[in-house]
């Protein structure tokens, strides 16, 4: 570095290398990003009520929730979780349209 007046001795110590290990200290300390978990649970709830009560807007909301949880998921998260939430929400959408294929009505308009 040009402007740097560090001492002549090189401060690198190849003998003191510590390999990276994901300990509590280098985890994300200031607040874990919880959106993937929240969205997963919300997606499950929406697809359940989309399937049980055949509410189409719930099924679509479930699909959105699993997309959001997919987008903010961590790389070392297991993909099974994401896959299962997608499968559930897609099945909710398909089932609700198979049972009555009339176009969707927004919840507030049908009341």
């Amino acid at each position: 570095m040009s402007g740097n007046t560090n001492n002549s001795s090189d401060s690198r110590r190849s003998d003191r290398i510590h390999r990276y290990k994901a300990s509590a200290f280098n985890q994300n300390q200031n607040g874990e990003d919880l959106t993937p978990d929240y969205m997963n649970v919300l997606g499950m709830v929406f697809s359940m009520c989309g399937l049980m009560m055949r509410l189409k807007w719930c099924a679509w909301a479930a699909l959105y929730c699993s997309c959001i949880s997919f987008a903010s998921s961590k790389i070392n998260d297991d993909t099974k979780q994401i896959l299962s939430s997608f499968m559930l929400s897609i099945s909710a959408v398909v089932m609700s349209y198979l049972q009555n294929p009339t176009p969707m009505v927004l919840p507030w308009s049908s009341v």
């Binding site: 401060s11 280098n26 903010s72």
Partner: protein, 458 residues
């Protein structure tokens, strides 16, 4: 009258293929019957002079119509459907029609297969999904570009200062360089240097890949951040806790961080003593440490790029955010000596990635200056004693709080043991043993009461 004609045309196309389906049925008489009714209906409408007939005729037709549909339900032949058919193909274009007869159609349910427009909500939702994934790939590639630009800018200087730059800790086939924790978080682990065990650079970028997060960002603006976490060797750092941060961050730290809330919760303004911008606040356990370490070079840098410096936190008792477990933690949380710098990457107001990275360069280089300063810094005797006393006090407070919990747990265990013993005795109904046990129990209770009185007498 336009839509009636239009409706007619639709019916016409459907009729042809449907009509073909019912070749085997002798449709004529049904059609004839329906046709005759419709004719009367047509006539009645055209002669307005006889309103009563008008009223009767439609009623009778409808009764007949409903009766018929109930009988041959399985033919899927719907009376209304035939109406249009009759009118166009057989009726001659006579003058009356031009005036456009007033035909009232029954309320038809939206036909299932006819038009896709009625699914407009679904189309909008699907468009939203496509937009979401389009933004996902766009945001991901932008974050990737930012991380790679940052890495390529600092790889050179870091290689000069560390023996190992970029490691993912895997034993086999570990790739050097940036570790991607999630679409917007990248980690760079550097190690092999005097004075510190290792340094972890965390690139916490905005969640550009998530449309919802970007919308939330409009209401609560956040910034791309670079967190530099220096893990100090135990021998290279003295015992003090200090933190210089912007006001908002300072409030959050005092609330959340375990070490700051215990050792230096009171916030002092950093303007007069260090000549720093007004929005900076200093929290320091020992004044000598902060005044020595926040030297001229650090203060001048902060004054040059105040928007970049979010917080500078030196602590030998760092253990992360406060543990929110309700039960008292059984042992002291693990503590480490750390220097944590949070910098903002000023990508807002149109700065390109390369420009922003250049702006943050002096701040990153400052961390090495601070590492060397902290390594050489030693508290004077009296402040050292003060720091030790603080740590002692915290230790005792902790033991006292857990002592109560530990005593309770022990009492509960003893209670449990006695209850089991009692149950065992009651079960085997040997009066002799029960009597002996009760005697023993009474003696124990009496003994427990006796000493108290003696103490009072003396």
């Amino acid at each position: 009258s336009y839509n009636i004609a239009n409706a007619g045309i639709n019916h016409l196309d459907i009729e042809d293929n449907e009509f073909a389906e019912f070749e085997d049925f002798d449709v004529d008489d049904v059609v004839g019957g329906v046709a005759s009714d419709q004719k009367n209906v047509l006539h009645d409408h055209e002669e307005p002079s006889t309103p009563e007939q008008d009223k009767e005729a439609p009623i009778t037709d409808e009764d007949e119509a409903t009766v018929e549909t109930e009988d041959n339900e399985f033919e899927h032949v719907d009376e209304d459907e035939y109406e249009g058919y009759e009118k166009d193909s057989t009726s001659k274009p006579d003058l009356k029609l031009n005036e456009g007869p007033k035909i009232t159609f029954a309320q038809l349910p939206a036909h299932l297969r006819s038009n896709w427009e009625s699914y407009y909500l679904e189309l909008m939702i699907l468009a939203g999904l496509v937009l979401y994934f389009f933004n996902f790939f766009l945001g991901r590639s932008k974050n990737q570009r930012i991380a790679e630009t940052w890495y390529s800018a600092f790889k050179g200087p870091l290689l000069e200062k560390f023996a190992l730059v970029g490691d993912d800790g895997k034993l086999e086939n570990s790739q050097p360089g940036l570790m991607k924790e999630s679409e917007n978080v990248y980690l760079l682990w550097c190690s092999g240097r005097t004075g510190c065990e290792a340094v972890l650079f965390e690139l916490r970028l905005l969640k550009r890949q998530d449309l919802v997060a970007m919308v939330m960002n409009l209401f609560r603006p956040q910034q791309d951040q670079v967190h530099v976490k220096v893990f100090m060797n135990d021998s290279d750092m003295d015992t003090f806790v200090m933190c210089l941060a912007a006001k908002k961050t300072a409030n959050r730290f005092v609330r959340e961080m375990a070490d700051i809330s215990v050792y230096c919760p009171e916030k002092k303004s950093a303007v007069d003593k260090f000549g720093l911008p007004a929005n900076f606040v200093l929290m320091s356990e020992i004044g000598e440490a902060s005044s020595t370490l926040l030297d001229v070079r650090v203060c001048s840098l902060i004054n040059n790029i105040p928007e970049v410096i979010e917080s500078i936190h030196f602590s030998d008792q760092y253990s992360g955010p406060k543990q929110t477990e309700d039960t008292a933690p059984s042992k002291m949380p693990e503590v480490k000596k750390m220097l944590i710098f949070n910098f903002n990457l000023p990508l807002k107001n149109g700065k390109s990635i390369v420009e922003a990275v250049e702006i943050i360069r002096p701040a990153i280089m400052l961390t090495f200056h601070c590492i060397d300063r902290v390594k050489r810094f030693r508290l004077s005797k009296e402040f050292k004693a003060k720091a030790e006393k603080n740590r002692q006090k915290v230790e005792e407070a902790f033991l006292k709080s857990t002592h109560a919990a530990r005593a309770e747990a022990a009492a509960a265990r003893r209670e449990e043991k006695r209850r089991l013993e009692k149950e065992k005795i009651l079960q085997d109904d040997d009066p002799e043993k029960q009597r002996k046990w009760e005697e023993k129990e009474n003696k124990r209770l009496a003994k427990k009461r006796m000493p108290k009185m003696k103490a009072i007498k003396v």
